[in-house]
């Protein structure tokens, strides 16, 4: 339990891990980390660690589940048993079922499914360590895995959580800040279109706070979006180099 004297935001406006309120945790992105999938990515945001892998487009089995006019997008968000403080029992929790749905819907919003009728595209997100912001880090990774798999998208999805801690709007909450904070709002966007693809709110915000949180979220998303594109550029220039 949180010590009552513990402060999430210090007097100088910095947080427990030394960040400013509008600062992301250190972010590292790697593309093509798993060899047997068609596309994959690894995202680490602070201590939050996530793999994503994509298979497809591929034939649907059994065939009667196929859609005649577009691909099916399947998505699983899953956590390892040891990714959280208390061991998570095996099997899908209700939380994992819900998050699989909203992540699937976020990705569906940007993928050109009509280009692959009668096929399926499977997206798997595995949370290796959960220190806040796993669904958004998972989405950030998944859209890169889709890109590596060559699945056409209207835009990448970049995502981050914003929240409210000790009355202040803060970017990219850690697990501790989420737990003892007043609100957590994961946001995912297709930044080029300035459009929301995932939005949830867990907590209480005034209208002004919501507006501020959305602004701060967009700022974080643009930073992440830039790093995603850098990673893709790095990946493909490296490949180009290797092909020489």
């Amino acid at each position: 339990m949180k010590d009552s004297s513990m402060r999430l935001v210090k007097e100088d406006g910095t947080r427990i891990d030394g960040r400013r309120l509008d600062e992301l945790r250190p972010l590292s992105i790697e593309i093509g980390v798993l060899e047997k999938s068609d596309g994959s990515a690894y995202v680490q945001l602070g201590r939050t660690k996530v793999f994503a892998a994509v298979f497809g487009p591929k034939e649907v089995h059994p065939k009667h589940l196929a859609l005649p006019d577009r691909a099916i997008l399947n998505c699983r968000y899953h956590m390892t048993s040891f990714s959280v403080d208390e061991r998570k029992p095996l099997g899908m929790t209700r939380r994992e079922i819900e998050l699989s749905k909203v992540i699937r819907e976020a990705l569906e919003s940007v993928v050109f499914l009509e280009e692959f009728p009668r096929t399926s595209i499977d997206v798997f997100i595995e949370i290796i360590e959960a220190d806040g912001g796993t669904r958004t880090a998972g989405l950030t990774a998944a859209s890169l895995a889709l890109a590596e798999a060559g699945i056409p998208m209207v835009d990448l999805v970049a995502a981050v959580a914003v929240g409210k801690i000790e009355g202040q709007i803060a970017l990219d909450l850690s697990d501790l800040e989420d737990k003892y904070g007043e609100a957590d709002m994961p946001i995912a966007m297709a930044p080029r279109l300035n459009s929301i693809v995932l939005l949830q709110l867990n907590g209480r915000l005034t209208r002004e706070e919501f507006k501020k949180a959305l602004e701060l979220g967009k700022k974080g998303i643009m930073e992440i979006y830039q790093k995603q594109r850098d990673a893709l550029r790095r990946k493909y220039s490296e490949e180009a180099l290797m092909e020489v």
């Binding site: 859609l67 399947n74 998505c75 699983r76 819900e98 949830q200 907590g203 005034t206 967009k218």
Partner: protein
Amino acid sequence: MSAIPPQSKKSLIAGIVQEKIYNLLQQGKRLDGRSPVDLRPITITTGIVEKADGSSLVSLGKTKILVGIKTEIGTPYPDRPKEGSFTVNAELLPLASIGFEPGPPDERGVELARVVDRSIRESKAIDLEKLCLIEGEKAYILFIDIYVLDYDGNYYDPSVIAALAALVTAKIPKYEVVGGKVQKTGEYFNLKLQKLPFTTTFGLIRGKFLVDPQLEEEAALDVSIIIGVDQEGNIVSIQKNSPGLIPETILEQLIEIAQEKTNAIRNKFCEALNIVI
């Protein structure tokens, strides 16, 4: 694993319906004659299941939601030793729609339960400390079980109404601590809700929005989002619950309307249940 539901085929017919709804929206109209910001009629009946500690049947247009509350005595969560707890479950009954299958709740039922849970939990509607009997040992556990009985679009907003109606009118069997043990007193008590958070569901079609989509509209929407607001105007839950893009610029407007609409629902609710806030 979450999969695109087979019934979600964006068929030719859906396209035609969308066109029609969009044309109406441009004139500020809808298929059933409502304006874009009109809710369907709400009816609230409570106390219909005598074996439940609280119950309600709420209809929003033709959509019908049944909620029942049962209380048990259990152990508080280790990280909240001074609090009772509550659990929300939701089942999309196969009676309600040809699109609902019998069996354990699918992702839609899970999402519904979790959205209602968050609206109640994050608004701190229930004073959980009042539900503790012996710190760290015994507390009331409320089971709030939602059944969608008839589904003509938008089960979210009426589920929140029904859950709150069942809670507000519940008569919880009272226990007391005697010599370190809990025992039934034979009396009952009321839960006094601290907040009354309601939600408004929005649908968007080509940038135009509407509230409380009925089934035909739902199938034609580009995207939908649920916004929960408490009586002080705080936003207490948001859930984008479908694929699709929401222009960031429209969000503030939706929130403003959600504040209005939930206020209207709250007035209706208080009037129906004879509550003064």
